[in-house]
């Protein structure tokens, strides 16, 4: 099987879209935070917590969408913690984010051990099943690639579109963007920068957690400790790569996922026998660094990203 065959197969693109889905959720979540001026490095831990919370809720008997809601709420709670530290108190977003990742991850593992003290392998749940959209799924190549995914994948694309709509077409979105560009402009118009930023971080973190839950509720059917495995950090790179625009960020996530799907397939080909598998596994991380380097020169970074706003600072 050569490269050309892989790139033309529907199953390859179906896999790429599947891999992209959690990244889209989390990237959109991070994008919302950063558009409001807050870098959320808690993303990795929030994804871990979301993956666990969604899964354990379904295991305890909730329906799958109930699991998604539980994950979202978990993420929002963690986001609220982040925003309390980073917005009104204006503490270093680097330190708070790393601290939150450590906290969310360890809380998750602790809860796992408390809830399931004696299990050697985690129990399985019945995950989301692919839903073939009538008519569209019959299209050649595009049908099986795009329109035979699980409902949560469709939700990821809907979320991205809605986010773009809200950001660019509503007064709320304008306020969020302005908070990330110049908080004084927002305050001078009688709006609360604190409320806008805290809201953005809270909601954005909820979406990150849903990204994590995609792993346990759609991609797999169980929870493992190293499941998220740096995907959060990759999403931070994707936000930069997407120039802080939802559409471009989705394209970036798909492009990135395509590379990931490609390396999995290449591992099984003749090249895979020659090159150690670790090299393939490194690819996503290298690609992320590459994306950061390529975009560094023309990044349209929000002007007030990582700049705390202290009302009436003299």
């Amino acid at each position: 099987m050569d490269l050309f065959d892989i790139l033309l197969s529907a199953s390859f693109w179906a896999a790429a879209i599947r891999i992209a889905s959690p990244l889209i959720f989390a990237t959109i979540g991070e994008l919302i935070c950063e558009r409001a001026g807050v870098l959320n490095l808690g993303i990795e831990g929030i994804m871990v917590a979301g993956a666990f919370a969604g899964w354990i809720a379904v295991w305890a008997g909730l329906p799958l969408w109930g699991g998604v809601a539980v994950a979202m709420l978990t993420g929002m709670m963690l986001g609220l913690v982040h925003s309390i530290f980073s917005v009104p108190f204006g503490l270093s977003q680097h330190v708070v984010g790393i601290g939150l990742t450590l906290l969310a991850t360890s809380l998750t593992f602790y809860t796992y051990r408390v809830v399931l003290p004696e299990v050697s392998s985690p129990p399985k749940i019945t995950a989301f099943q692919p839903y073939e959209i009538p008519l569209l799924s019959d299209l050649p190549l595009v049908g099986p690639a795009l329109f035979s995914q699980t409902p949560l994948t469709y939700a990821a694309f809907v979320l991205a579109a809605l986010t773009a709509l809200v950001l660019y077409r509503t007064p709320l979105g304008l306020a969020v963007r302005a908070a990330g560009e110049n908080p004084s402009a927002v305050a001078a118009q009688g709006l609360s920068v604190t409320a806008i930023r805290m809201g953005a971080v809270t909601v954005g973190s909820g979406f990150m957690a849903v990204g994590g839950a995609f792993l346990t509720l759609s991609a797999f059917d169980s929870f493992f400790f190293d499941m998220v495995n740096g995907r959060g950090w990759i999403c931070i790179a994707l936000v930069v790569f997407g120039a802080w625009k939802p559409g471009k960020a989705v394209l970036g996530a798909i492009l990135f996922a395509a590379f990931d799907a490609l390396q999995i397939r290449l591992q099984q080909t003749g090249i895979g026998a020659v090159i150690p598998y670790q090299v393939f596994l490194m690819m996503p991380y290298f690609l992320s660094i590459l994306a950061l380097v390529v975009m560094s020169r023309r990044a349209e970074i929000p002007n007030a990203l990582m700049v705390p706003f202290n009302k009436g600072e003299r």
Partner: protein, 349 residues
């Protein structure tokens, strides 16, 4: 709500918030212990006993503190210059890899040169690994937090490849493990007959040296100036880029020493679970120490005690040992808030 700087904080202002932070941390841990069905008093009692209760426990704590002192210093040095090095984990492994390469006799070094050269090589490896992200930061403005984080994943995969390939121990019965170091490449015991090695002594010396650098040398002054206000430093003629690169070398080198000390002093060989996250825990250590090098030693001992104690508590009381990680993460968050409150007053208007 508004934050108002306090011109001259009173002694109470400086002491009370950090104490409250510790109290809050223990409150969180108490609640978690209760949720897990443990008795909080016996849980904390067991943690203290597990960390300090016997000579063995105490030495175990000191041994565990050793790599944390190195990574804590690495982070403290970097953060002081606002170089956000989150890659101490990878730099530690880089140091360990070169230690193993030299220490298993790859170059046939004479015995008396073995230890110093291993240490220097480890520092070199760690420093080199941080130089990349530092250059990307200074040349292209790429955020070093993300690059150093991503490097952690890349380098651990590289170590995994080495342990299954070139560095694999032929006698290892298939385990991904390196060959053992030659005896002359092992750090001797600090006290004969006790399980505590010279790595601890080296860590104390390193802390002292960093303190001297910070307070007495031009580099220390420059690093602080760049960290506090890079724009003013550049305007005043301080070579900001060069200072950041020097900081990166120092920070990476210290993290590399952690790898050297673990392999040469404690484990004797390299495995892919050499570090259970010393690089990340170093962040907590550095922040708890308020980035002060001598404070790092105390903070590392505190953190190590909680880890060692929680481990033995977990076995006795059945409360998961992850409670230690939670305590440290919440201590980190509460402490940065507490430090803010020592300098600012919260006003409601």
């Amino acid at each position: 709500m508004r934050l108002e700087p306090i011109a001259a904080p009173s002694p109470a202002r400086r002491i009370v918030p950090p104490l409250l932070a510790l109290l809050a941390t223990f409150t969180v841990a108490t609640l978690l212990a209760l949720i897990a069905g443990g008795n909080p008093f016996s849980v904390f009692g067991l943690i203290v006993k597990g960390a300090f209760g016997s000579k063995f426990a105490l030495l175990e704590t000191l041994n565990s503190a050793t790599p944390l002192i190195f990574t804590g210093l690495a982070i403290a040095v970097a953060f002081r210059a606002k170089l956000w090095n989150i890659g101490a984990e990878a730099q530690l492994y880089a140091g360990a890899v070169l230690t193993v390469v030299l220490g298993t006799g790859a170059l046939g070094l004479p015995a008396y040169l073995m230890l110093p050269l291993c240490a220097i090589a480890a520092m070199f490896a760690g420093a080199t690994l941080l130089l990349g992200p530092a250059l990307l930061k200074t040349r292209l403005g790429v955020d070093e937090v993300v690059t150093t984080l991503l490097f952690n994943f890349i380098f651990l995969l590289f170590v995994s490849y080495l342990l299954e390939g070139p560095l694999k121990d032929p006698m290892g019965m298939g385990w991904p493990k390196s060959a053992r170091l030659l005896p002359e490449a092992r750090l001797p015991r600090l006290v004969e007959g006790l399980r505590i090695h010279w790595g601890f002594g080296l860590a104390l010396v390193a802390a002292l040296l960093v303190w001297v650098i910070n307070t007495r040398t031009t580099l220390g002054y420059e690093m602080r100036a760049v960290g506090q206000n890079a724009e003013a430093a550049r305007f005043a003629g301080i070579p900001v880029t060069r200072v950041i690169l020097k900081t990166a070398l120092l920070s990476g080198g210290l993290a590399g020493l952690a790898g050297f000390s673990e392999v040469s002093g404690l484990k004797g060989a390299l495995t892919s679970d050499l570090s259970p996250g010393f690089g990340y825990t170093g962040i907590v250590v550095a922040m708890l120490a308020l980035l002060h090098p001598l404070g790092v030693v105390l903070a590392a001992l505190f953190v190590a005690a909680i880890f060692v104690g929680a481990d033995s508590m977990s076995r006795a009381a059945g409360v998961p040992s992850y409670i230690a990680d939670i305590m440290l993460a919440s201590a980190l968050l509460f402490m940065v808030l507490a430090i803010l409150l020592t300098k600012f007053r919260v006003r409601r208007d």
